[in-house]
Amino acid sequence: MYSQKVMEHFSNPRNTGEIPQADGVGEVGNPACGDMMTFYIKVKDGRIEDVKYKTFGCVAAIAVSSMVSEMVKGKTLEEAKTITNKAVAEALDGLPKQKMHCSNLGAKALKEAIKDYEIKVLGKEHESELAKKNVKRTAECTHCGVSNPITAKFCMNCGEKMED
């Protein structure tokens, strides 16, 4: 199910660990949901001089954080900001569909770390936390794709448990 590249990064993840006096720290995810990543960056002359991370999560999550760390090391902050989930997934020779959500986490955690750096060091404001209160009335079942009321605990169509 996983590409060789994914398995290789999972088995030998690059740049793991913490940076004690990091310039920026970004944390995303929630261990209660099965995935959490913390990225640490050291910035010098507008470039990511060093990057490390800690990851709690599945094979894909670990491989993604490893790949993200490799992709951004030495890049300028502006370059690093342009990294997309798609680019990460492609660099890993693809991810299973149900794991694409992990590839998002990696880039997101890194960007949070950059933001953290910019606020702390440059004084920039956090952008208003993604207007994410778009009131949804329905939820799509991730298994069969059918719309369910948000109150549904199990998909009305396929009976599979709905993701919250």
């Binding site: 199910m1 996983y2 298994h143 169509n157 396929c158 009976g159 599979e160």
Partner: protein
């Protein structure tokens, strides 16, 4: 050695060495559960997906439009219950033909207890459903129309495309039980336009206890077997892996020689029909003479009863069926034969031959030698028969 003629291939077929060989590794060597997370599970999972592609290919579907089931009967149940339970708003009427397989009829009747109305469409003397009849019977609250692609007892092939269009104009789902056709004639779900189609391993040279339901992408379907995420949430339960692999292999083999096979069987079939009708008096050839399965010849022989006929044929090394394998022990007049207008007495003498590539012209000649003798013997002792 005496010639043994097996002409009941619609009931069961011996697995070919290719199909058997394809299955073998999945009994022991490659035994992992396809749902497990570690990489060994993916090996099995991939093999299942490969089989899914092959089955999809056979009917021109997409792989993700195929759900594997444990039989044609389960596929029929999943289609009818799956649609009716998932679409209660459309309405509470189900239309089926009068000659459907038990698994369709009884699934539909199950909904009568839940307040649904079930309409049974009559057929003409060849077993054909008249599209005009469907037009008249269909109503805004008809959620599903289910009409079989070909009938297993009389071999008649129905005008599915036309019937399906009528259902769709009405906003109703259309299901066809294609157990008798898939693997015997080319079946193209896109060309037919249907929403759901059932197939069974038994008519494909695949192991017993296998089947599949085709459902057009985005069709809402309530699972029949609720539970885990196998078959993407459509059908729970650890998969019958060797069975699925066998079904895939069998589908692959049939795709290759469908036309050639049909041609060969048609010629055997016609030789059989010609011989039987000309050598036995008062024999009724059943079903449609042209719109007919290439592997199927069916008759009713007046004055005798089916079970006795089948046993006496088997005592002469000829194996055939009487009605559907399911009904054959229920001691009832076949509803299909009644529906095409045969009297109950005549319907008792039903005999069905289903052919396969393993059958030869000599096999047919053997049947043509044995059957008239057997019929004569049984008629001699029948109080119903008068010369």
């Amino acid at each position: 050695m005496e010639r043994i003629v097996y002409m009941d291939h619609a009931s069961a077929t011996s697995l070919s060495p290719e199909v058997k060989e394809a299955m073998m590794p999945y009994l022991d060597e490659v035994f992992w559960n396809p749902s497990v997370v570690y990489d060994l599970g993916s090996r099995v999972k991939d093999a299942i997906e490969d089989a899914r592609e092959k089955v999809a290919d056979l009917i021109n579907a997409e792989p993700d439009e195929i759900v594997f089931t444990s039989s044609g009967a389960e596929a029929n149940n999943l289609a009818i219950k799956g649609i009716a339970f998932a679409n209660p708003k459309k309405g509470k009427r189900i239309i089926v033909s009068a000659i459907e397989h038990h698994s369709v009829l009884n699934s539909a009747r199950f909904f009568e207890r839940l307040g649904y109305e079930v309409t049974f469409l009559p057929v003409d003397r060849y077993g054909l459903v008249d599209p005009e009849r469907l037009k008249k019977a269909i109503s805004p609250d008809t959620v599903l129309v289910s009409i079989m692609h070909a009938n297993n007892e009389i071999g008649t092939i129905e005008p599915i495309k036309e019937l399906c269009e009528i259902a769709h104009e009405n906003g109703s789902f259309f299901h066809t039980d294609a157990v008798a056709t898939v693997g015997n004639i080319p079946v193209d779900v896109k060309e037919l336009g249907i929403d759901l189609l059932s197939l069974s391993g038994i008519s494909l040279g695949a192991p017993k206890g296998t089947g599949a339901l085709y459902f057009k992408k985005n069709t809402r379907l309530m699972p029949l077997i609720h539970g885990g995420i196998q078959e993407r949430g459509r059908r729970a339960g650890t998969e019958n892996v060797p069975g699925i692999i066998g079904l895939g292999k069998a589908a692959e083999l049939r795709v290759k020689n469908l036309e050639e096979r049909a041609k060969k069987l048609t010629s055997l079939r016609d030789r059989l029909i010609q011989g039987v009708t000309s050598s036995i008096p008062k024999v009724h050839f059943t079903g449609h003479p042209e719109k007919r399965l290439p592997n199927h010849a069916s008759f009713c022989i007046e004055g005798i009863e089916g079970e006795a006929l089948i046993f006496m044929l088997s005592a002469n090394n000829v194996y055939a069926n009487t009605g559907s394998a399911c009904a054959s022990k229920a001691l009832k007049t076949s509803p299909v034969l009644v529906a095409i207008g045969l009297s109950d007495v005549v319907a008792q003498g039903s005999v069905v031959f289903t052919l396969d590539e393993s059958n030869s012209p000599e096999d047919v000649d053997h049947v043509l030698n044995v059957l008239p003798q057997v019929a004569r013997r049984l008629r001699e002792m029948s109080p119903v028969w008068k010369e």
